[in-house]
């Protein structure tokens, strides 16, 4: 290996996006160089695995406070795909090694499912990743979440804005839209109006669904229909759905999982798709000719919450406290370009990595901040209209 992985990534990020030329020969050659060497190293050194978790470009977690150690298991539910792969390396494995608590993974956290689980008394996971609006929305309907035990947390470094009584924010990300670089003959879409411009940018699209715990892209719809970014909230629901209706014939898929828009763009099933920014980064790394648009997109933050009556709730509290510590937060940001909520994590990341996170100043100034309070009030109304919108 003549250059390190991070230098190579930097060089690729700076190069023109002829990633299709990257090609399979190059991929195989790189796979051979990194894969064989890494695989050989991993196999030979497996028995020498040290408690400090360090890998290329990832800060190590050397130790955890005793109050976070325990026994048994914790069942964690996240969104699968590239995000969960990164979380496994950044959070789950170090937590298992250092705390002695086994992590059992599953996918598909859905607030409606949490309600059904708590109501029927069969809670299938102990902690899941939601957005705060869903947590607040469900809180209004009854006692569905466990209060977070902040005595276990690194509260000195986590702003109060991220700490909610029933959930803790920990993953700032951008909801963007991405396009195939080979689709428009050199024309580059720049904002939401372009996403909705079926004449200037023709082709099939994929947008977020309102099913499966997700919410439709109403802000994008409003801005695509001409509303300026500072007038988007409070959202005029009818106007947003009317705008979505104008593009409905071109939407071939209302995606319900993070991996879908990335897969569809890679397969050339769609030329434009709204998506979560880290998933697009993952397919770009794998060589797909895809690029994100940042202007007037959304900055959102995911939170972790514990369903009421979860069997392993003490372990869930410890797990949630662990993943908001500085090192695990920095580890995740170094694997997939999502932000962090622990201020101390910034010191553990390189300047280049900080620059591509959605929270970096250059990107953040283009983004609109998702209004959690509005969605907490209005999710039910939106989802009710969503079903009739689909049937129309």
């Amino acid at each position: 290996m003549t250059e390190s992985l991070s230098e190579r990534l930097r060089r690729l990020a700076a190069a023109a996006p002829h990633v299709a030329d990257f090609g399979r020969r190059q991929l195989i050659r790189d796979a051979a160089r990194y894969g064989m060497a890494a695989a050989a190293m991993a196999v030979l050194t497996r028995h020498l695995a040290m408690p400090a978790f360090a890998a290329d470009d990832m800060p190590a977690v050397k130790s955890i406070p005793d109050k976070l150690k325990g026994r048994g298991a914790v069942r964690v539910c996240s969104y699968g795909g590239a995000l969960q792969d990164a979380q496994r390396k950044a959070y789950f494995k170090p937590f298992e090694e250092l705390s002695g608590i086994k992590v059992i993974e599953s996918e598909g956290p859905d607030p409606a499912k949490v309600k059904a689980m708590v109501d029927s008394g069969t809670v299938e996971f102990d902690v899941g990743e939601f957005d705060r609006a869903s947590v607040i929305n469900l809180e209004k309907k009854g006692d569905y979440w466990e209060p977070i035990d902040y005595s276990l947390f690194d509260t000195a470094n986590i702003d109060a804005a991220f700490r909610y009584k029933l959930a803790v924010d920990m993953l700032p990300y951008a909801q963007i839209y991405a396009y195939r670089t080979d689709a428009f003959g050199g024309k580059v879409p720049k904002n939401n109006a372009d996403l909705f411009d079926t004449k200037g940018f023709p082709g099939p699209r994929a947008m977020q669904s309102g099913s499966g715990g997700l919410t439709p892209d109403l802000e994008i719809a409003l801005m695509g229909g001409g509303v300026p970014a500072d007038k988007v909230y409070p959202i005029d629901i009818d106007k947003a759905f009317a705008s979505l209706k104008t593009i409905k014939p071109d939407v071939v898929k209302w995606w319900t999982a993070g991996a879908m828009p990335a897969q569809m763009l890679t397969d050339n099933e769609v030329v434009l798709a709204t998506a979560w920014s880290g998933r697009i980064f993952a397919v770009q790394k794998a060589g797909a000719p895809v690029r994100p648009v940042w202007q007037d997109q959304l900055l959102r933050t995911d939170a972790w919450a514990i369903p009421k009556g979860a069997a392993n709730r003490e372990n869930a509290q410890k797990f949630t406290a662990f993943i908001t510590m500085a090192e695990p937060q920095a580890r995740l940001s170094s694997l997939i370009p999502y932000g962090f909520v622990n201020n101390a994590a910034a010191e553990l990341l390189s300047a280049d990595r900080l620059a591509i996170l959605p929270t970096s100043p250059d990107i953040k100034k283009q983004l609109l901040i998702y209004d959690t309070a509005w969605w907490a009030e209005n999710t039910d109304a939106v989802l009710a209209k969503w079903n009739s919108f689909l049937l129309d």
Partner: protein, 268 residues
């Protein structure tokens, strides 16, 4: 000429039926990072990903031992049931037979939802024992049907002859009837195993996050991960199931041969 046309039509129909299944195999050897057809190159990375992943191996292991438990339980329950239904003379026999076969007719999702509500009350959701019990309900009919069919071919006079010679009813069953219906039991066991191994609907409800079976994991991964490991798992499942079905078919053929061979002098 007509034979050639018939053969050609047959080949086309077979291809139409089998192609969607076989297409998975080249996909599983793809060197691309995402599902794409045609695959750009050959690689066994997805098989390596399956065998290197704790989650996949644990799901496969759960599926295997749940299916084994179901097979044993279904055979133990289904064989006497089949004998009772075939030989017994009691009022309501038709109704009982229909009830035994009803899991085959009732839509799977209804069975799944019903078992979920009942098992949730007992706190069994997310425990493998729940899967064993629920899958046994849908596997028993297969055993009953196969053993019932095998019983049809057993000549009662053999049993009567055995009892005439002094064997107790149990000894008659054990030494005369059982060897004759053994291929039927084996076929029923294979069907029970495959039914449990491939079952998705009940597993979706009862697996939780701690008793995840292979089909359940594949379903979740298709929604959330979409990578060719699914193709590798599918290819392996296809070969396993095909192997099991072939062995069931061979057993059935052996039973046929045995039956036509066993009573040459009594056939009149």
């Amino acid at each position: 000429m007509r034979r050639a046309a018939l053969a050609a039509t047959m080949a086309l129909v077979l291809a139409y039926l089998v192609f969607p299944i076989l297409i998975v195999v080249p996909l599983s050897f793809s060197s691309a990072k995402f599902l794409s057809f045609p695959p750009p190159g050959v690689s066994t990375q997805w098989y390596a990903a399956f065998f290197g992943s704790d989650a996949w191996l644990s799901a496969a292991w759960t599926s295997i031992w749940v299916a084994s438990g179901v097979t044993v339980l279904a055979v133990l329950l289904g064989t006497p049931a089949a004998i009772g239904l075939h030989r017994g003379r009691f009022p309501g026999r038709g109704v009982v037979r229909a009830l035994f076969l009803s899991p085959l007719i009732v839509p799977g999702i209804i069975v799944a939802i019903g078992t979920y509500f009942v098992y949730a009350r007992f706190g069994l959701v997310g425990r493998p024992i729940a899967l064993v019990l629920a899958h046994t309900c849908i596997a028993v009919p297969f055993v009953v049907i196969n053993v019932g069919a095998a019983l049809h071919g057993v000549d009662r006079r053999l049993e009567q002859a055995a009892q005439n010679l002094g064997a107790s009813p149990f000894a008659t069953f054990w030494q005369v009837t059982l060897p004759l219906i053994r291929p039927g039991i084996f076929a029923g066991a294979v069907f029970a195993f495959i039914t449990s191994f491939d079952e998705l609907l009940i597993a979706l409800f009862l697996s939780g996050s701690t008793a995840v079976t292979l089909p359940r994991r594949m379903f979740d991964q298709i929604r959330f991960d979409i990578d060719p490991t699914i193709a590798a798992v599918s290819a392996m499942l296809i070969f396993t199931t095909t192997g099991l079905m072939l062995s069931a078919e061979l057993a059935r053929r052996r039973a046929e041969r045995r039956r036509t061979r066993s009573v040459p002098s009594l056939a009149s």
